[in-house]
Amino acid sequence: MSTCDDLAPQLLEKIKEWNAQALNKLRDCYFRMGVNLLKKEKCLEMEAQDICAAFFEKLWIKFTRENGWKIEDFKSYFSTSIIRQWAKKQKKEQHVSFDDFLLLKEDLFYENDTEQEHLLKLMERGLEILKNKNPKCWELLDRFYRGDQSMKEIAEAMGYSSENVARTTKNRCMDYLKEIIKNLDQK
């Protein structure tokens, strides 16, 4: 059976082809390891999760948009990157007292705090609301976009009468999510 380390090179190649499921698989393989590694470096669990999440977001942006990326040993690259990021963050914190830190305008977790990052946070909140208000919608989107299931498989698993009905429902769920995001953004 292939290990994550064996699979990583293929997954990275698939990410270059815009395969988001490959990114999910890579995350599933390494996210927990990354968080636990940072915790050993005395990073708070929540901060560790943020650093790891940011790594995979940046990886996606780089690999899909820039040519020539090649990582021979993903595990080492990942470990080094997140530890470096944690060290950088600690260094910044040393220069300010904790109270000052709370008042800082810049976001220390995301150095390049762009509109994309804002959208991402907004989307995470929107998905949380969707999950609470309409768990079936959430499940459908999760199965399709994260779980790599086909519409046929989803229809069977979730009890839709056909593939088409599942597809139409998915599109409605996307519209519903858009509405949630729009409302959140207006607030």
Binding site: A20, E45, F109, K121, L127, N132, D142
Partner: protein, 254 residues
């Protein structure tokens, strides 16, 4: 429905050949709606993946005995410091509640008028933070009655959310013999789980963290604060600020 949905799905599943992909990106330069739809979908996929990774991580850690949340026993002096901080935060809440008029502890959109809609006209006096045991009793009679009569089978409406939230904090802050942490936990947990808006849920989690801390359950106090910080890392958000500050105070010292 988004007219580009099918193309976008093919793109993000890695099913679009390179040539088609390049022409798709070229089209984005002249079709702003396509560019917007692309951006929305990419962000959604990243956020979905991010959220699930965090949840899977937490499940896995819990399955292994919640190692991640285990904490060390704190020295007595440190506990006094924490207690003082928490009391101070409580005082800030009460201060805001009493004197701001239009704001309930840090962030919940709250005005006298919507509360009077909850309670009926002419009863705004009860909205101010109770000053005597009698006021607490009066509040509890109202909020608890209202909360118990509504079974939770769905996300709470605004009124249901506020009733439960107030029932919870009245039980939490009331003096003995009205104080009842178990009941406070019940109502605040329901708000945290089913509250109408995410801000309501965060407010409830913050109160729950104080409650757990008071009960001596430091692990759950940390978990409650993490619920707030998990989905919002905006340093300008007050919920985030308070939760992060409390987390740093009550988490094991580095």
């Amino acid at each position: 429905m988004n007219p580009y949905q099918e193309e976008l799905d093919r793109l993000f599943r890695g099913e679009m050949p390179r040539e088609e992909r390049l022409s798709f990106f070229k089209r984005m330069e002249t079709e702003p709606e396509l560019a917007e739809a692309f951006r929305f979908q990419e962000t959604m996929i990243l956020a979905l993946s991010n959220k699930t990774s965090r949840e899977n991580y937490e499940k896995a850690e819990r399955a292994e005995g919640g190692k991640s949340l285990r904490t060390k026993r704190l020295p007595r002096l440190y506990i006094y410091g924490i207690a003082a901080s928490i009391a101070l935060i409580g005082l800030v809440f009460i201060w805001q509640y009493l004197f701001s008029g239009s704001q309930f502890p840090d962030g919940i959109s709250y005005e006298l008028r919507p509360m009077s809609e909850v309670k009926g006209s002419g009863t705004e006096g009860l909205i101010a933070f109770p000053k005597s045991v009698g006021d607490y009793q009066q509040n509890l009679d109202f909020f608890v009655k209202g909360s118990d009569s509504i079974p939770i089978t769905h996300n709470l409406t605004r009124q249901e959310t506020l009733r439960r939230y107030y029932a919870g904090i009245n039980y939490l802050y009331a003096p003995a013999p009205l104080k009842n942490l178990e009941k406070a936990e019940k109502y605040l947990s329901e708000t945290a789980e089913y509250g109408e808006e995410i801000n309501d849920r965060w407010a409830a989690w913050l109160q729950l963290s104080l409650l757990y801390y008071e009960k001596g359950d430091q692990d759950r106090a940390i978990q409650a604060l993490q619920e707030v910080t998990k989905y919002d890392t905006n340093p300008e958000n007050k919920y985030y600020q308070i939760a992060l500050k409390n987390l740093k105070i009550i988490s094991p010292k580095r």
